[in-house]
Symmetry: C5
Subunit: 330 residues, 5 copies
């Protein structure tokens, strides 16, 4: 699907709608270039574009299949750029990845967007308000899109940061939950995000140092600005990795400790119950002795035999109780 197609001359958008074939022609004018935005194009649409701009078959193949690695490749006089967009989905704490592919020639930009990638309409409007940059030609469009993609990484970093802090809170709280799975899934997400963002540093480095043909020298500083943001993102992501490894380790300690504390409490209960049973067993034994049916048991005939026996029982209990208390068992 063609989203937008416009011709830019001397940094300004030519007014009016342009059909694809008009755009091709218009793009050959001096100081002009075409910017075509495609959304999951079908083969026919793409074929026209491909032939018009003489795109390399390998780049085209990559552009149709999603799941590429972020990269910037130079094919003769055309650049092929793959970008991974990332979006933090608040509802289920996950990161959603999209893809944008760009073909950039001296007089054209073809932007192919794959499904979950955010629309580029905004980017177009924004850069159109900067004729001073657009004058630098297609490179300015590359800058604008890169800038947006990398800026969009920041909310992901913030979301992950939030998540890391939440699991930290959970690990060290006394709620008694075991966030091992959440930590692990977060780590998985962080690794995936790293794989989306980190490979972009190398192409940006080439852009900063003007090692990519066809980019106006003035843009170098703009690309450096993006690179700087990207490095900050990557630094943060690496920090998350290390923190999550530590928090997983700390979680083991906390879970083990918590379980162990439950066990210790239970053992203390058991000890207490057993101590009471032990105390009760003694008068039971004494009672048993005086319940024996021997004919000659002098105590039985004593007037104060019974109260004495009770006293002995009570005494034994008190002695035991005190001893157990002293040991901390009761």
């Amino acid at each position: 699907m063609i989203i937008d197609c416009a011709v830019y001359q001397d940094g300004k958008r030519r007014p009016g709608e342009v059909a694809l074939h008009e755009a091709y022609e218009a793009g050959h004018a001096d100081n002009a270039f075409v910017w075509i935005g495609l959304y999951e194009p079908d083969e026919a649409e793409f074929d026209s574009v491909r032939r018009e701009f003489n795109l390399h078959e390998l780049a085209v193949e990559d552009a149709i299949n999603a799941h590429q690695r972020p990269k910037l490749e130079v094919y003769d006089d055309t650049l092929f750029v793959v970008l991974k967009t990332a979006r933090y989905v608040d509802t289920d704490d996950t990161v959603e990845f999209g893809e944008i592919m760009l073909f950039i020639g001296s007089q054209f930009v073809v932007a192919v967007r794959h499904k979950p990638a955010s629309a580029l309409g905004d980017v177009r409007k924004q850069i159109e308000s900067r004729p001073d940059l657009l004058r630098f030609g297609p490179g300015a469009v590359l800058y604008a899109i890169l800038d947006r993609v990398v800026d969009d990484y920041q909310p992901v970093v913030d979301g992950l940061d939030q998540d890391v802090k939440e699991v930290e809170g959970e690990v060290f709280s006394h709620a008694g939950t075991n966030p091992a799975e959440r930590i692990y899934l977060l780590k998985r997400e962080v690794i995936e995000f790293h794989q989306a963002a980190a490979p972009l540093t190398e192409p940006l480095d080439r852009l900063v140092h003007s090692l990519v043909p066809g980019m106006h020298g003035e843009l170098g500083e703009y690309f450096r600005d993006i690179q700087d943001h990207l490095l900050r993102v990557v630094d943060n992501v690496n920090g998350f990795r290390e923190l999550l490894t530590s928090v997983l380790q700390a979680n083991l300690t906390q879970v083990a400790l918590r379980q162990s504390e439950i066990g210790v409490q239970q053992n203390a209960d058991m000890r207490k119950i057993s101590a009471w049973v032990a105390i009760v067993a003694v008068p039971t034994m004494i009672a048993g002795i005086y319940g024996m049916n021997f004919e000659y048991m002098p105590e039985l005939t004593w007037t104060f035999g019974y109260p004495l026996a009770l006293a002995v029982m009570a005494g034994a209990c008190i002695v035991l109780y005190r001893a157990f208390r002293r040991n901390g068992w009761l």
Copy 2:
């Protein structure tokens, strides 16, 4: 065993079967090269090839022994390439490795395949349909085979990804199993696969930057495409390594927690049983006391002595029951 032997002239296969010695001759024509496919050749067969193309003794030695490291070596005017093929075996979740060795001169390609490596017949057919590439000479064959080998890594990555997800599921499920062994074996597999795939990045880098003699400049972009796929594979494999380390750690937490929860439940049972025993011990003691045979025990002669005793017993039990209940022991 000679699998196939063909002469390519100007990017097209010369029709008809060619015997080995005919191929040698034909290969000297302008814009022509021979492509000989061998499958675990015996010494005699190989010796003929070796003498014809003047292959270096060290390369030949490596080609006969399997278990080489992936590499690309330049011997004067001959390239020697070792590739590790990988195949994910669904039936037992393992990865099977094979080997392909290539000798590439300006007018010949000798491909030696070792047992579990997949046949190259397909590759031959595919590249024969691209005379525009075959025109670049033996380098095009190297491209075609490298492309296939690296493309074949993708299903392995997918299989391993599946396995990692399965063990994750197992670790965090409530099935109560201990997948430590499976995680470990998976890690072993991932390391082995990394050792097969990763060393290829360096030779591909040299191919991309045209640092290998005898490769047509136009092929650079094609090799870059392969390199890109390979880097994606290596990225994924490194991700698996890190994930498996984490999941092994998480598994320890889960197993420890699960065992500990069983222990806690058992302790709670024990506490409950002991509490009941303690309750029963009290009326037993009282009964014992009134079972004593003292002559002077006034209570025994009371009319309501017996019901009173029962009431005391019941009362004691109720008091204990409530106390234990309050403590959460019952």
Copy 3:
């Protein structure tokens, strides 16, 4: 807010207060430069500065937003430097980060300070006492500020070192606490500090090797001195990371051991109580037997039946006591 604004000529500060617009003019004199200190400037103030010194829009944007990565960027004839200041807050054992941004041209220095960064008034006084350095122009100011920022890292390192030693002490003490959370938070702090300090090594390297335009060659040795301090800081921080990983692991061992020792003690108590109950159970059983009401029980009529029974009971208890004692149960 403008903090200070002065003109330096031949390494000496021109006396008297200077308004902003005067400073601009004065700064064009030979061997002179302006140094303007701003504290969280509002847009209007900054706009005047920006227009006067023709600062690049990207640098200005970075200077207004805090939370930048430490860096040194060259824009045509202006340097833009971002520094992270760090301060160890004793009261709650945390590290507080601030930011200083510098715009450095051949005849001006604009220093922008963000909130928690420490004031630069001291630095100004210190460097003003060194006309031999100030003679080198704005580079001397860069040196002075860098030197202060990196020197201020040392107390942070000392504070973290103290903290690491405290958690070590806690882990290996017998206090029975679990410092897992503190270790983790310390690690988080160390990672954050690393992210503030480590990226500065690269710009300093460029300064040391005179790869930054507009810096007097003599200053190279001064920048090397700073770099040396920075490297020491980074070395220490890396050491902390490794130590904290180890201490977290050691803490798991200590906590597990401590809990386990409590459990062992409790088990020993239980065993002791149970052993006493078992001892008492035996005379209870014997007493029970002689409490049976069979008509023909010859022992009951023996004159010494009762003492004999008591003796048997006592004997059984003694035997059991000795056996349990031998087993270490009592």
Copy 4:
């Protein structure tokens, strides 16, 4: 002790025994070189050699003391090479290290072997059968010895691989052993072996790229062959390190699980015993009640009092038994 001393001319060994001083002279002929093999030489022997070939004092010092790091050093026109040999000792699963030092000039090779290093007689015979290589001079001897040393690493790798597999088997078996010590000692061995083998990659790299003076260019490919083997060895060793770290972690899980399972079984036993005791306690209590000596206990005079009491006892036992059974306690 002088083991062997021979002169090689045009790639062939001059027949007959040669005394040391004859060798010195003979070695000055065109296309000739001397190869002297020493075994733990005493100072006198070595001194003669040192003076004859003008060996550097530092190299000589290193050659006499064992325990060097593998290295290749260039002293003016002499190479000094230190190699670590390794041998897997099957009887006690350990790796034994030896040392070989080589002094290589344009017309001589002095090989010094230290005790546990394997004899070089074989190497000499093997390379003597290759006059085409020996013609390249002393470099060919270096190749031959390096080739042997690195080839001899393979059995060590195989032995360690076997050991790793054995500990894996032990960890995941149900034998109930704790191979932590063996894993640790294996890791120690692997680290030691890595320290012996890995430093050789750098000198080999220099040899491959002909950065070492005095080596014939044709030998480059031969050294590359050795380097390739060495890299394979190092790859394997690194794999072992990672595997052993994982297996140590997995072992902790297995040991903890196993112990915990024993504990769970014991607890289940205890619960069962306690449950039986609890069941028995109830009829004991009832019997106690009817053993009381109250004068007015109507049940005692009932004709069916006794069987009724028994029935109540039995009933209580059955009810309890069923309840315990339902809870899974019996």
Copy 5:
């Protein structure tokens, strides 16, 4: 404090004591240089030296404050070198660090020693016995001191090796101790030692490759010898780090296992005691039954009622005993 001050001419020490100001003068002679040894100099002493040799203020500042990072800095025509000395203190198994700073010009060496660093008198004597080296000027002194400092690392490595082996022994012994703290402190020591030794590799590399001005070319080989020793030390230290990480992990396993085994034994004891109590409970219950006072209990009047009851009791006990025995509870 001035320790020693001597003038060396043509590789030989000029006889007699020399005062500081004489030394300054004498050092200007051809082929001569002064070597001044200072021990924690006071400001006055140092100031004289500083002015005489025109030392850079930054270097002087570093020389007075200890706690520098090992480094080699070039200031115009003066080298400034910081070295960390290390000494293994047997009595308490710790490593003691000292510092030596060197200022080296074309005709002077100023060596500043800080407190715990070992005296350099020995080094002076040793190098004075080598006029062939001393002839190379101050570089020879640098060599001699570096050689001593690095040689002195070896006993530290040996001491740490011994310590590592001791904790290994402790971990895997059956002594039942928990060496977690010792392992941790050892790791701390190893990291500290690494920070003292490892930064020296880079300056040594520059010395080996003659990238430091003013060093005689012949000394390159001597510096390489030191570098080689240093690399061996660093290799060993890295090995210790990895081993200590593993041993800490193994210790966790061992401690957990040991504690768990104690628990298992205790549980087995408890089970045994409980089993005995259960056995005794049965005859107690039977005795209780026949102790009931029902009027109509036919068994009570049987002639053999009593022996029968005893037989039933004994029988029940035997049956239970056998059952428990079969279950492994007794």
